[in-house]
Amino acid sequence: MKDITYNLDEIIEIIKEITDKNYCVTLKDTNFEFGHLLSLQKRLNENSKILDGFSISIEENLSMRRALIALLQEKYYTYNTYEGIEIKLSQLKNIANSRFVIKNKDTRNFKTPQDIHPKNPCLHYEDDINKKKHYKTALNILIDLNVLYYTNSNAHENLKSIYEDISNC
């Protein structure tokens, strides 16, 4: 069982350093404080290689659907339509798998970018209220924890406006 790659003192130092920052992930034990949560996560990410050597993987879980929404948003948020763009979903899935722990790989219902992260979502879901609701719920966590998923702040701002639109149509 014993692994040979870890250095106990090194990891204890990391834990101590993060503990001393005193991140309050929950506020008064009632709500989560996303700013502190993201800061703590960032510190862990910075030390991911050392933790890996300790057999601790800090990659986060994300459903393939949310991961693909994040990637489509990141790459194509400036486009008004997916028509005329060659998008290889298999490639996007590979990127998703390298960035997140993806256990639900089932995308049978999501065969095209428009199925996954539709342009003009109000129009796309106008005949299916349930699907619209599920899409809206898929967006919320991506918006709140954007730092974990995006590197592009414009893509994030754009996603917020999509969320507002779909909340009002």
């Binding site: 069982m1 014993k2 692994d3 870890y6 106990l8 003192d9 990891i11 204890i12 834990i15 101590k16 993060i18 503990t19 001393d20 005193n22 991140y23 309050c24 992930v25 929950t26 034990d29 009632t30 709500n31 989560f32 996303f34 949560l37 703590l40 996560q41 510190r43 862990l44 933790l51 300790f54 057999s55 601790i56 993987s57 800090i58 986060e60 879980n61 994300l62 459903s63 659907r65 949310r66 256990k103 639900n104 790989k105 089932d106 049978r108 219902n109 349930n130 609701k133 599920h134 809206k136 719920t137 898929a138 919320n140 966590i141 918006i143 709140d144 924890l145 974990l148």
Partner: protein, 275 residues
Amino acid sequence: MELKVLDFKEFNHIKFEEIEAKYENDPNPVKFTLDEFKSIVSLLFSVQYHTPEVSEEHLHNIADILYEEYPIVNITSKFGRQMIENLENDYLEWMNSLSNKSYRISEIIINEELNDFIHLALIDYMIIRKFEYGKFFLNEWSKLFFNLDGYSLSMNVAEIIGVFRTKEDAFKMLCNKLLKKNPDLSGYEVLFLAFTFKELFYKSDKDFVNYALTNFIVRDKIHELNTRIDTLKLSMIKEINPNQKTNDNTHNKKNNNDKDIDEEGLNKGKGGPKR
């Protein structure tokens, strides 16, 4: 979005084998009671959280979760149930609509719609809930395996608490002590035990990183921890009460390994907790 911390509630869990026995001869899809449905979803949550993918290769581990073979593995489904009981707004509405549908029990584990819900409403939220899960796990596995009444006053525990109060590198000292006494422990096992000890006897509101790391360890290593449960138990007992007899009840019995220590071990005989 505002996300509240979990409000831990009482619930009625129904075992999967009971649900299966009730419906397995039904030729048509069946509608479960709400408690049956929530129990199934909580077990599927645990399957999805601990299993790289639902496939033949992992069938044995999946069955261990689904049929609740080991107490330590069951902790995750209990946490999943608390998440279910705390759903609100769109997610609650979604769950209620799913609970009103009919399913074939034999195909429930691969039901696409249900798995979509489990991931979008539960698993994806572990990015936030991991702190609560880590804390919950440390407390629950301790409750299962150690009778903690009176321990806070045992000499050994008092000594370590004293170290935490006075020494800045107390956590390091505890880890090194654990490793010295139990040289066969792997690195993540030492940490897991040290986090447990800290949570039981000297927890603080700064321990979020401990909870996050516990989450990652347990998420990926639950079956390994279960296999090593006797070693982990004994390592903890040595730390809590070094005079405790350790030659009994070291096997990992299905379903009743939580009773071993309580009935035979820590509170009886020479070396019981000092009050």
